[in-house]
């Protein structure tokens, strides 16, 4: 990458080392990207000239002294092409089947010693997973705030706005994917973000004559100038099973369905899966030939009032309804109510 820019310095975070993020063919405003290290991890900047010369003094036979200076040998430090990619998600990203625009987050760091553009690719068909997400776009965290902001952060277009990073600088990259509708609970889907130096990549030591920053060559470093990391989505889906049972107590101490007998209905909702269900609601009609016994609704053994009020249960006139809110997988909710047989 031949850009002569080597901008350093930080406007707002003294402890961080910041440098502007430029775009290779950018019409978009530059953001500010911060890297953690205050020193050049990658060493002497590309294009630096190393000069060496020596001087000598010696005595002449006549008692005088003479001095001599050697020639100066100069060499230019070439550009080392190195890059690193690291997922910053800290674990699987929980998603629902058929969800769109699900985020994986990566940090791409210029580990070389020259300003360099990096070509990004999201590989969504890598193995080692249960389903293939569909990577729909790559977005650059242009304002460097670490948060994906649709419409504010910059959609990446390969070859058009490849992020240009100064040595040690990094950029946060969001990969947005759609999750297939057929993905089931606890399945994992993998997407790799690949970053390759625009100048070139390959076996370490591969040189690109004259293409280094500052007039030297560009040389592929230990990373091959090609790095990737994987991120995983994990489906968190949930289902629910209802079981209804009835207990009859007749006026004579038995369990016969006769007029005047009291039937206690027990409704058990069991949520399964690793996700959770939102706005789960249990409703049951009072059977024909029976009458609701006021004040008999319970949730997890605690009574609920019949009125449509602040508590989560009510008698609607024809049946009962209990709002359970969000219930996580593995949890059960038990509702009971009673009717009298007419």
């Amino acid at each position: 990458m031949g850009s002569p820019r080597l901008t350093r310095g930080c406007g707002f975070a003294k402890l961080n080392h910041c440098s502007p993020l430029h775009y290779a063919a950018g019409v978009l405003a530059a953001g500010t990207i911060c890297a953690g290290a205050p020193a050049y991890a990658a060493g002497t900047p590309a294009g630096t000239v190393i000069n060496n010369n020596a001087t000598a003094t010696y005595d002449l036979p006549d008692g005088g002294q003479n001095s001599v200076t050697s020639n100066t040998v100069s060499l230019i430090v070439d550009e080392l092409l190195d890059v690193s990619v690291a997922s910053t998600d800290g674990g699987d990203v929980s998603v629902a089947p058929a969800a769109a625009n699900q985020l994986l987050t990566f940090r791409v760091t210029n580990a070389g010693n020259g300003s360099e553009a990096f070509r990004l690719t999201a590989r969504d068909n890598a193995g080692g997973d249960d389903f293939d997400p569909s990577a729909t776009s790559i977005v650059l965290d242009g304002n460097g705030n670490g948060t994906y902001e649709p419409g504010i952060d910059i959609v990446y277009v390969a070859g058009s706005n490849d992020p240009v990073l100064t040595p040690d600088a990094s950029v946060l990259v969001f990969v947005l994917s759609s999750i297939p509708a057929g993905a089931t609970d606890a399945q994992r889907g993998r997407v790799d973000l690949v970053a390759v130096a625009a100048t070139g990549s390959g076996a370490p030591g591969t040189a690109f004559a004259g293409q280094g920053q500052g007039g030297g060559d560009a040389v592929v470093g230990a990373t091959g100038a090609d790095a990737e990391d994987d991120g995983y989505y994990r489906v968190a889906a949930a289902g629910v099973a209802f079981v209804k049972s009835a207990t009859v107590a007749d006026p004579f101490g038995g369990s016969t369905r006769v007029p005047g007998a009291i039937v206690t209905y027990r409704l058990v909702a069991t949520v399964t899966g690793s996700g959770s269900l939102a706005n789960l609601r249990i409703a049951d009609a009072v059977p024909a030939g029976s009458s609701y016994r006021p004040g008999t609704i319970t949730l997890e053994g605690a009574p609920l009032s019949d009125a449509a009020d602040a508590d989560s249960g009510e008698f609607t006139g024809t049946g009962i309804a209990v709002r359970l809110g969000t219930v996580a997988g593995g949890a059960t909710r038990t509702v009971t109510f009673q009717v009298a047989i007419d």
């Binding site: 060493g43 060496n52 020596a54 200076t69 050697s70 020639n71 230019i76 070439d78």
Partner: protein, 153 residues
């Protein structure tokens, strides 16, 4: 990689070019280690074609007395270039400086002052200059070679 050899000698006044001079020549090489087919490491000195941070450099100073009379008390001083960490010398008779050439000695005898006023033993990375004093007079037509190593920061 562009290897620039700037012959400053060409720019010196004619008197300095006279034959009554000791000539001093500076060269730099990159030390490369390759592994041959038997798995043995082989080290060679190469012209600095491609140089990147971490590369090992060997600086070679050669001198020759072109004058008719011997040169005595011959002292060669070489500042360590910026962007290079001094990595030792194989040529005997050297002294080092870690303070820009003000004081000289063996590395073990040198110390560096910390910001808080205390001092610590000097390390190779602190070396700013290397100097050799050639004990024997250099006879007319005589010469020699001095080497030191560096690593590109």
């Amino acid at each position: 990689m562009r290897f620039l050899l700037i012959l400053f000698a060409l720019l010196l006044p004619a008197s300095a070019m006279a034959q009554s001079q000791v000539a001093l020549n500076s060269q730099v090489f990159v030390e490369r280690t390759t592994t041959d087919s038997n798995g043995a490491a082989r080290t060679s000195l190469e012209p600095p074609g491609v140089v990147t941070p971490g590369d090992r450099l060997v600086f070679v100073l050669s001198y020759r007395n072109n004058a008719a009379a011997p040169a005595t008390d011959f002292v060669v001083t070489n500042p360590i270039p910026e962007s290079v960490v001094f990595a030792g010398t194989e040529s005997a008779g050297s002294v080092l400086s870690v303070d820009g050439g003000q004081s000289w000695g063996a590395l073990a005898a040198l110390s560096v002052r910390n910001a808080d006023g205390s001092s610590r033993p000097a390390a190779l990375a602190d070396v700013t200059h290397i100097r050799w004093r050639i004990a024997e007079p250099i006879p007319a037509g005589g010469g020699g070679e001095l080497r030191f190593r560096g690593i590109v920061k």
